[in-house]
């Protein structure tokens, strides 16, 4: 993290020096930074295989965290690849962009690794504020401003509520460390009103960040308004970070309260799937459509979370639910980023390219991209052999294992709706006649981005073993939440 911060600042400095037409240097720098960070993460991982706790017991670098770190870095890297050309077109090429990107990644890392609410909160805010700015990065675009403003107001509001809940937890536990909170909470009667208020307010914050109904409405606006590359980045990285935080707090910290929060989650899950899927059906704006679809995916993941919440740790249902969420996030990162990458590449000199009509006849204009987009869409719809199926598979499996047949069949119906609106895009791309016929010019970075994501989607779909292994590896720790010897590491 530290090194990322350094890079971020470094980019800011360089940005002042380099002339206008050398701005791409920033991108390169940011990319190097991400690569270097990945290197360091790998080093940490090899250095302390069992995981380590630092920063005065506020930061736990366990496999769970490392898994997410890799995820964030990958997302950031792809986002950077996507951005360069896009920013040229938008004439918003500034170093801050990359700096903020990297900083938000730092925030995410804190969220994923933090076991102290303070650190988690700081990470959250670091990420959030950077993304507010990134969303509003297109200063001349009213939609962008508006999105940023809305996102900021609601985000700040929600984090206020979140913080309120945390403060109450501190009051109950007398410590801000999740482990202590867990201990204290398990001692308490789960139906103590203060506890419940604390829990609910906290959950409000968490659910807001993962954009679950009814705390989702910021998402479509923000996604639509933001620069497309950022939309992609938000829809995967920010979401993943929020999930990491949610899992940390609800599964790690507040697990004793699951009898209280699971029923609520059930309602939220159903509401999320319903609202999002139905809303997505009639969207005519691709970005907004994908925004709703990503909310719907949150609903599916919440189903898995329900399966976890209603079954004992150690049972296959619990494990598969957990795996389901992580794999879903992993797969989702690639397929959604890929989809947004394709949409980003539609941004040409005169076209904004986020309307469904801009997709029309994409096949004639850029066959490869259209084909890959089809792959991403199928993956989103959960059609094998695309990767998306793996996530669906685990979620349905965990539901079956924990005996939620009703929820499972609900999931069936909604995945049908999902298929329908993904097919709308596919039809536009492959079947409708193109509106303008000149071939789409796609930058090298974009090609790399799309290629990488497509490759990942396909490979994970056809040979998911490594993915599943990595998830198992990362869960080796979360499954057994028993205390482990604390070895402070100096960095």
């Amino acid at each position: 993290m530290v090194e990322l911060t350094i890079f971020a600042l470094g980019i800011l400095l360089i940005d002042l020096m380099v002339p206008r037409d050398w701005k791409w240097i920033n991108g390169v720098g940011a990319f190097i930074g991400v690569a270097f960070a990945a290197l360091c993460v790998w080093e940490i991982q090899s250095m302390s295989p069992g995981g380590a706790v630092g920063f005065y017991n506020s930061l736990q670098v366990d496999r769970f965290a490392i898994f997410f770190w890799y995820l964030f870095l990958a997302a950031a890297a792809i986002a950077i690849l996507m951005s360069a050309r896009y920013l040229d077109i938008e004439e918003e090429h500034h170093g801050e962009y990359y700096a903020l990107l990297l900083l938000s990644v730092v925030g995410m890392m804190c969220m994923a690794a933090g076991i102290d609410v303070v650190l988690i909160f700081i990470g959250l805010e670091l990420m959030a504020i950077s993304t507010y700015v990134l969303v509003g990065f297109l200063r001349r675009d009213r939609r962008s401003n508006e999105a940023a403003l809305k996102y900021l107001l609601l985000g700040a509001f929600s984090s206020g509520v979140f913080a309120y809940g945390l403060s109450l937890f501190y009051g109950i536990a007398g410590s801000t460390n999740l482990r202590d909170i867990q201990r204290a909470v398990s001692a308490q009667n789960p139906h103590n009103p203060v506890l419940v208020i604390a829990l609910l307010t906290t959950m409000t914050g968490l659910l807001f960040k993962i954009a679950a109904v009814p705390f989702h409405q910021w998402a479509p606006d923000a996604y639509e308004g933001a620069p497309t590359s950022i939309t992609g980045f938000m829809s995967v990285a920010v979401k993943a970070a929020a999930w990491a935080m949610l899992l940390r707090i609800l599964v790690f910290g507040l697990f004793p309260l699951r009898s209280v929060y699971t029923p609520v989650i059930v309602i939220v899950a159903i509401a999320t799937m319903t609202g999002a899927n139905f809303a997505a059906l009639t969207q005519s704006n691709t970005k907004r459509l994908l925004a709703y679809s990503s909310i719907a995916h949150v609903g599916y993941m919440l189903l898995a979370f329900v399966a976890m919440g209603t079954s004992q740790p150690g049972t296959p249902a619990f494990a598969d639910g957990f795996k389901g969420i992580l794999i879903y996030l992993l797969v989702y990162t690639f397929m959604n980023l890929g989809a947004f990458a394709v949409i980003t590449s539609l941004r040409q000199g005169n076209v904004i390219g986020d309307e469904l009509d801009d997709m029309a006849g994409l096949y004639q204009r850029a066959p490869v991209e259209a084909a890959l987009m089809l792959l991403f869409l199928l993956s989103l719809a959960g059609i094998p052999p695309a990767a998306g199926f793996l996530g669906k598979y685990y979620i349905f499996l965990s539901l079956i294992e924990s005996g939620h047949y009703g929820l499972a069949s609900l999931g069936v119906i909604y995945s049908l709706l999902g298929l329908y609106y993904y097919l709308k895009i596919a039809n536009a791309m492959l079947i409708r006649a193109p509106m303008e016929t000149e071939r789409l010019s796609v930058s090298l970075g974009m090609r790399c981005a799309v290629g990488v994501t497509a490759l990942a989607t396909l490979v994970i779909g056809i040979y998911p073993e490594p993915a599943i292994q990595s998830v198992n590896w990362s869960l080796g720790i979360v499954k057994s939440q028993t205390a482990r010897p604390i070895r402070p590491i100096r960095r």
Partner: protein, 102 residues
């Protein structure tokens, strides 16, 4: 004269919190809404300080300082974005921010 216990602080904080929420919901001026959010955060701070007093450790106070900083940062970012917005649209009324809908 009643001794002032943690509960009192909590009640006051809760009141502040609710006020902030109502402010967020009702005021039309974005700046005022930002201020209401500050209100909420202050409620949080009050809580934290009271609790840290109750437990006799410093976690809460540390946390409250962090939150103050964060509030400042948020306000800064918010105002920046608001200025950009104002440039384009010449208004700070939330009920005129309705370009993105449905």
């Amino acid at each position: 004269m009643v001794p002032i216990t943690t509960i009192h602080y909590l009640v006051v904080a809760a009141a502040l919190f609710v006020l902030g929420v109502i402010g967020v919901l009702t005021r039309r001026n974005v700046v005022v809404i930002l201020m209401s959010i500050e209100l909420i955060l202050n409620a949080v701070n009050l809580n934290l300080v009271a609790f840290s007093r109750m437990w006799g450790n410093l976690h809460g106070q540390v946390f409250s300082i962090f939150i103050t900083v964060d509030a400042a940062a948020e306000a800064a970012a918010g105002l920046g974005i608001l200025i950009a917005f104002f440039r384009n649209k010449e208004t700070v009324n939330v009920d005129e921010i309705d370009l993105l809908k449905w």
